[in-house]
């Protein structure tokens, strides 16, 4: 899905706007409300303007979710340590392994 090049932004209909909206958000900086090509349309269609405003608010607020808010329980690190120690012990056994079928020096 890409934005068609022959869009008549001055005579855009709401259903056409709905169709191209995902691409409008994906292009540029995602600020559809500030797109100069859409100012006339958004002014004439307040419901579409409200939708754009809401979706921009959601996207902007989502950025704040990047900050971690939760911490894993102690059990996670204990399990990691146990697993690594188990792997280390197995590796040690491998290192010490002597092939009983190997010829004696």
């Amino acid at each position: 899905m890409t934005l068609p090049g022959n869009i008549d932004f001055d005579n855009l209909k709401p259903e056409e706007f709905e169709h191209i909206l995902p691409d409008l958000f994906a292009t540029g900086n995602g600020k559809v409300s500030q797109d100069p090509r859409l100012q006339k349309f958004l002014a004439a269609n307040p419901d579409c303007a409200a939708l754009v405003s809401d979706l921009e608010t959601i996207a902007e607020t989502a950025r704040s979710l990047l900050e971690p808010v939760a911490e894993p329980s102690e059990r996670v690190w204990q399990n990691i340590q146990a697993k690594l120690q188990e792997d280390s012990a197995l590796a040690s056994i491998d290192d010490d392994y002597i092939d009983p079928g190997a010829p004696l020096d």
Partner: protein, 226 residues
């Protein structure tokens, strides 16, 4: 580009927009800890765990929506990290590399559970319960100024898994559509469409915040509809 597995050695973000790097700045003491951990220093690995456990766990929790699975996945991610740390060359931010590894592990888990983003996109009808409503004509008040991160977090957790995955990857983690498409083995258009539908669904959910489930609790007992 095919979908890469979690065993990839380097994941330099090929984004034209370098926006992710400022979101993943180097952490004090991280470089020394990486170098020491690569030489097998267990204390250094513990330092890396402490530096990144919250980000990794939060990512898992947001994508999986389940405390128990998120903890298991966090454990899995750090075990993979321990085994693959030697292949980290510093060509991308360590946190970016670790997040890529974690995202790929989570996606593998979601695939095992039968999540198919493409089929979700193509088969959910506009009248389905999970599908966002197209309500241009509504006169509900706009959300501006009324969305806080806690409420949005609850709404994200309530999203269907396909929508949630793309939303978290793009709007929260900052991945580009072409990167998401590669990770999910779908088209860029599909990723854009999924994201748009996710945002529409969130708008719908946020208009009725009282109906949202509570955030996942540490007890591990809270699960969201899959």
């Amino acid at each position: 580009m095919s979908c890469q597995g979690p065993m990839m050695t380097q994941a330099p973000p090929s984004r034209a927009n370098p926006g992710l790097y400022p979101r993943n700045p180097p952490i004090a003491g991280e470089a020394a800890a990486i170098e020491a951990a690569q030489k097998g220093d267990p204390e250094a690995f513990a330092t890396l765990y402490n530096l990144h456990k919250r980000r990794v766990y939060t990512l898992c929790l947001r994508m999986l929506g389940n405390v128990s699975e998120a903890e298991d996945m966090t454990q899995n991610a750090f075990l993979h990290l321990f085994r693959k740390l030697g292949s980290f060359r510093g060509e991308s931010a360590f946190s970016t590399w670790l997040h890529r590894l974690t995202v790929n592990l989570v996606l593998m888990q979601l695939r095992k559970k039968g999540l198919s983003l493409v089929s979700l996109e193509e088969t959910v009808s506009s009248s389905g319960d999970d599908a966002p409503r197209h309500d241009f004509g509504s006169r509900d008040p706009v959300l501006v100024g009324s969305v806080d991160r806690v409420t949005l977090q609850r709404a994200v957790a309530a999203l269907p898994p396909g929508y949630r995955t793309v939303f978290v990857l793009h709007d929260v983690e900052g991945f580009e559509h072409n990167e998401i498409a590669a990770m999910l083995d779908c088209s860029t258009g599909n990723s854009k469409s999924q994201l748009h539908k996710a945002r529409l669904k969130l708008r719908e959910l946020l208009r009725n915040p009282s109906r949202l489930p509570q955030s996942p609790q540490p007890s591990g007992s809270v699960e969201f509809a899959q």
